[in-house]
């Protein structure tokens, strides 16, 4: 067992874990964060995407011990004072989700995308979200949501494309 410490959604957690424990299972089973989802086990679907020190990672392919000393942000930690993150609002308003299972990972990947490229084109959004699979929406409204959030986060009018 290894002793690890990480900050998750602003709270510090110390735990003893097996070295083989995946970060997703540490978050879900030990810390009770049900908003991180497992969809494929092979790093294809991105439902488990979280931010590690602000960069998106797939928590099914990170060991909990690799996150030792790092700061993790999940979809459960991005609202501020009860206000949704603009990306959460945009997914809701643009109907960028149906069953919602891919949504937390999609939102975290999209936040990471806008951090690197605050004003992406439709094509850039599509290319950058290639690691996150959605089976419901055909991506049409996900792309729309990310564009809407980008505009809002830049302080410009929120008209969707």
């Amino acid at each position: 067992m290894r002793r690890i410490q990480m900050t998750v959604d602003g709270k510090a957690h110390v735990a003893e874990v097996e070295p083989r424990l995946l970060l997703i299972h540490h978050l879900r089973e030990n810390l009770g964060i049900g908003g991180v989802h497992s969809g494929c086990d092979t790093t294809n679907c991105g439902a488990c995407t979280v931010l590690m020190d602000g960069e998106s990672v797939k928590s099914c392919t990170v060991l909990a011990v690799q996150a030792d000393g790092h700061e993790i942000t999940t979809v459960q930690g991005i609202s501020e004072n009860g206000e949704w993150h603009p990306m959460q609002r945009a997914f809701h308003e643009a109907h960028g989700l149906q069953c919602g299972y891919c949504t937390p990972g999609m939102i975290m990947a999209s936040i990471s995308l806008l951090k690197e490229n605050p004003n992406p084109s439709e094509e850039e959004i599509r290319e950058n979200l290639e690691g996150n699979l959605c089976r419901c929406t055909g991506y049409e409204n996900i792309v729309k949501a990310v564009r809407q959030a980008a505009q809002e986060m830049q302080g410009s009018p929120t008209a969707a494309s």
């Binding site: 086990d41 919602g100 419901c136």
Partner: protein, 815 residues
């Protein structure tokens, strides 16, 4: 008091479901944790077909953290019945014995043979390594082409062949139609197996209820009500002792329209060990053990006159059932049988389906379920007819369309379509796409020998939705009704609870049913709560599949709300001391005709009905009404899709440049949700056409066994969709609604493939199978031309100025 004079129906109301989902607070089955809960993990057969000669779980049982381990034999007395098929399509249909754990023989790679129960999932999975199984391999049956041949090994030795059933339908004088035809077009189409890929894998938690000695089953399912009935039968738990809950469910697409071995196992283990049991599927298990879709060979033959009028159609199918029949396995191709005649008016139709067993994962519903296959066949052969007669594919369709109709019309397969106006959707899609301009561009690119050729593909489809009139279900051998239940309750405070038997998993029923009820009752949208997916809270239901939820369940909500208003009128008349016939109801307010000042709100009336101290003589208290609605007919949405592809003839890469879809699902409750359903349906249809196939080797191993090997498209693989709608109400129900969940998946695959063939037709290509992968397209061109097609230094002047140049960007980028 809240009042809402404006109408919600028809507006793009943002979804009520979203807050939990976008904040990560949804209740997925895997999020449920109960005191004392143990985790189950299954050992699955690595062989497609084998006898189990010995199996020993004793070492696994001794591992630290392991609580129990069982073989199929160990659990044999847990079962009161096999995993059943809900449809007896023919009297002699063969339904193989199918236990939740195999005992003597495994029949597909992935068939479960043992289960370990441990304190956590890692420990349970580790212990599987310590189970000793000896198998005696048997020959695997994997090839649909030879499955019925003499000498082919048997999947199930108890039968004398691999035939499950043969089902036929003959309408009109088919042979005569073919004899008098000027042209006969005959083609063979393959429908590859597909893996549904709901992003949430299946999961189940079985919880013994110490109070009543029963069980609560939380399961990621589309069908909690059906699961309750079926699990009762498999496990021998009296139905009244079972409660099934579908919490938040992460997509289904037909794959969760089933009752699975793991659900029965979880229940049996919870009973055996008297503690809560959780099982969560891994994706690799999902690929092996959750039902697949499609899997057919279709021989299609069309008879027509020299001017393109259809005279008759023959469709002969071999349909793969896989190793066992799951809930609707035998039904799926038969659901399609009534759709091969499409939107076309002719008299003679022959259909025959041979359902067959193979040593592969069972096949069952996948979005569209038999109907995409049917639409594919008729729409491909319409293009083949157009090519043969050198007619425009839009024109050959148009001259065969049924005339517009708004009352039920009998069509060639013998059933009655509810309403249709097929020219309207075709005209609109031609206009949206600038069809003439596209043909002109195509001509230029062909003339200039552009290595990237333009393809234009059509699909003018109709589909069978709103499953189903119970009499039809029973006539097809179905073991359950097709009705749906709704209850609308006005609470003491004037707020509203809507109870529905539909079980949404992404479709937004909570929002849409709220819109329906709020408008009918004249209340605020936020005053309505929708209760679903729990057999204790929503006791009656037939669940969600087959684009049935709105056309049956939503209509039931509307009708129940109307009953509430009718009862409310009686109470209001009593309160206002007026005749019931003089009471008008509008915007949530009952008033006396001609005296608008004399009025009572529906909330006042609900309060009076709850108080019950001053009601009309003999009236029961409460303003709450139930509607069990059995639809008189199916509904038949329709549409016209056009796919515009750019096909690189040097690499075989297919880029979808534009996708246009004009769908008609009758009046729309929530256009935003409807558009979303169409987007997702088309995306799955494109995936079927270009990317996806469950590939098995000759030994019956699933070669595409993970998302690494099976291409579920991401955002870069899919285009922007251009949508429009026409509105042709259905006479089948009081709201005129039809359903939209499967339209895209039914319309799209063939529009894409027709487009690819159209692009390649200058090379003499008339056929390509799904999926039209770069290799498949490239090989097809090579076969047609005998050598390389197109040249890099070709004249590109035929392209429009704004066209994307995928010569440069393709680079083998097909992921």
């Amino acid at each position: 008091m809240t009042e809402a004079p404006e109408k919600y129906v028809g507006g793009g109301v943002p979804r009520k479901e979203d807050p939990a989902l976008v904040t990560g607070r949804a209740t997925w089955t895997d999020n449920i944790k109960l005191p004392g809960m143990l985790h189950a993990s299954l050992l699955r057969s690595p062989f497609a077909h084998a006898k189990i000669t010995s199996i020993d779980v004793s070492e696994a049982k001794n591992r630290p953290g392991v609580v129990a381990a069982f073989t199929g034999e160990d659990l044999a007395d847990e079962w009161a019945g096999i995993i059943p098929c809900g449809w007896q399509i023919t009297e002699d249909q063969r339904t193989p014995t199918h236990w939740p754990l195999a005992k003597d023989e495994v029949n597909y790679a992935g068939d479960a043979v043992a289960v370990v129960v441990a304190t956590d999932r890692y420990t349970a999975k580790d212990a599987l390594e310590f189970i000793e199984v000896e198998y005696e391999e048997l020959p695997a049956v994997t090839d649909l082409e030879t499955v019925l041949d003499e000498g082919t090994p048997l999947v199930h030795e108890v039968y004398d062949s691999n035939r499950c059933y043969t089902w036929t339908l003959d309408v009109g004088e088919v042979d005569e139609a073919f004899e008098k035809a000027d042209v006969v077009v005959k083609e063979r189409y393959l429908q590859p197996r597909l893996i549904p890929n709901a992003i949430e894998p299946r999961a189940v938690v079985a919880h013994p209820d110490p109070v009543n000695g029963g069980f609560t089953i939380y399961t990621s399912t589309q069908v909690p009500h059906i699961a309750k009935f079926v699990l009762s039968g498999i496990c021998g738990v009296p139905e009244q002792k079972l409660r099934v809950v579908a919490p938040d469910v992460g997509g289904g697409f037909g794959s969760k329209l089933n009752v699975y071995a793991e659900e029965a196992l979880a229940l049996a283990l919870a009973r055996r060990l008297d503690t809560p049991i959780k099982w969560v599927e891994e994706r690799s298990e999902n690929y092996l053990s959750t039902t697949h879709g499609r899997g057919q060979i279709q021989d299609i033959e069309l008879a027509a006159t020299s001017d393109g009028k259809i005279l008759g159609l023959r469709a002969d199918l071999v349909a793969d059932m896989g190793a066992y029949l799951q809930l609707s396995g035998s039904l799926i191709p038969i659901l399609g049988a009534f759709m091969y005649c499409g939107v076309y008016d002719f008299d003679a139709y022959h259909f025959e389906c041979e359902g067959v067993f193979t040593n592969k994962t069972p096949i069952d519903a996948y979005r569209g379920a038999g109907r995409p296959e049917a639409a594919y066949a008729i729409e491909r052969i319409m293009d083949a007819l157009a090519r043969r007669l050198e007619m425009d594919p839009a024109e050959v369709r148009r001259i065969n369309f049924h005339e517009p109709f708004d009352e039920p019309k009998t069509q060639p397969a013998g059933i009655q379509y509810d309403s249709g106006d097929y020219n309207k959707t075709l005209d609109r899609v031609l206009e949206l796409a600038n069809y003439e301009g596209l043909r002109e561009e195509q001509r230029r690119r062909r003339e200039s020998g552009d290595p990237v050729q333009l393809g234009i593909g059509f699909s003018t489809y109709t589909e069978i939705c709103g499953l189903a009139p119970s009499q039809v279900v029973n006539a097809l051998g179905g073991g359950g009704g097709g009705w749906e239940a709704a209850e609308v309750r006005m609470l003491a405070s004037g707020k509203v609870e809507v109870v529905t038997g539909t079980s949404p998993h992404g479709q937004g029923h909570v929002t849409s049913w709220s819109q329906i009820a709020a408008d009918a009752l004249g209340v605020d949208l936020d005053d309505v709560e929708v209760i679903h997916g729990d057999t204790a809270a929503a006791p009656w239901g037939r669940d969600t599949y087959g684009s049935r939820s709105l056309a049956v369940g939503g209509v039931a909500v509307h009708m129940a709300a109307q009953k509430v208003v009718e009862k409310g009128k009686k109470i209001a008349a009593h309160m206002l001391e007026a005749a019931e016939g003089d009471i008008e109801f509008e915007g949530g307010r009952f008033s006396v005709a001609g005296s608008p000042d004399q009025n009572a709100t529906i909330q006042d009336v609900a309060g009076a009905a709850y108080l019950a101290s001053d009601l009309p003589e003999g009236m029961e208290p409460l303003l709450s009404e139930e509607q069990i609605y059995d639809p008189p007919n199916f509904t038949f949405p329709f549409g016209a899709h056009m796919c515009v592809t750019e096909v690189d003839t040097e690499t075989g890469f297919v880029k979808i440049r534009d996708y246009f879809a004009v769908d008609d699902c009758g009046p729309v409750i929530n256009p935003t949700i409807v558009d979303g359903q169409v987007h997702g349906g088309i995306a799955q249809g494109i995936a079927e056409a270009l990317y996806e196939e469950a590939v098995y080797d000759e030994d019956g191993n699933l070669v595409t066994g993970s998302m690494v090997d099976y291409l579920v498209p991401g955002a870069p693989e899919l285009p922007h969709f251009t949508l429009d709608r026409t509105v042709t109400p259905s006479p089948s129900n009081v709201m005129g609604v039809k359903g939209i969940g499967e339209a895209g998946t039914i319309g799209a695959p063939v529009a894409v493939i027709n487009s690819v063939i159209d692009a390649l037709s200058p090379f003499g290509v008339t056929h390509i199978d799904k999926p039209a992968s770069p290799f498949n397209v490239w090989s097809t061109i090579q076969e047609a031309t005998g050598d390389g097609a197109g040249t890099r230094d070709a004249d590109l002047s035929g392209r429009p100025a704004q066209a994307t140049d995928n010569v440069d960007e393709q680079g083998g980028e097909t992921r």
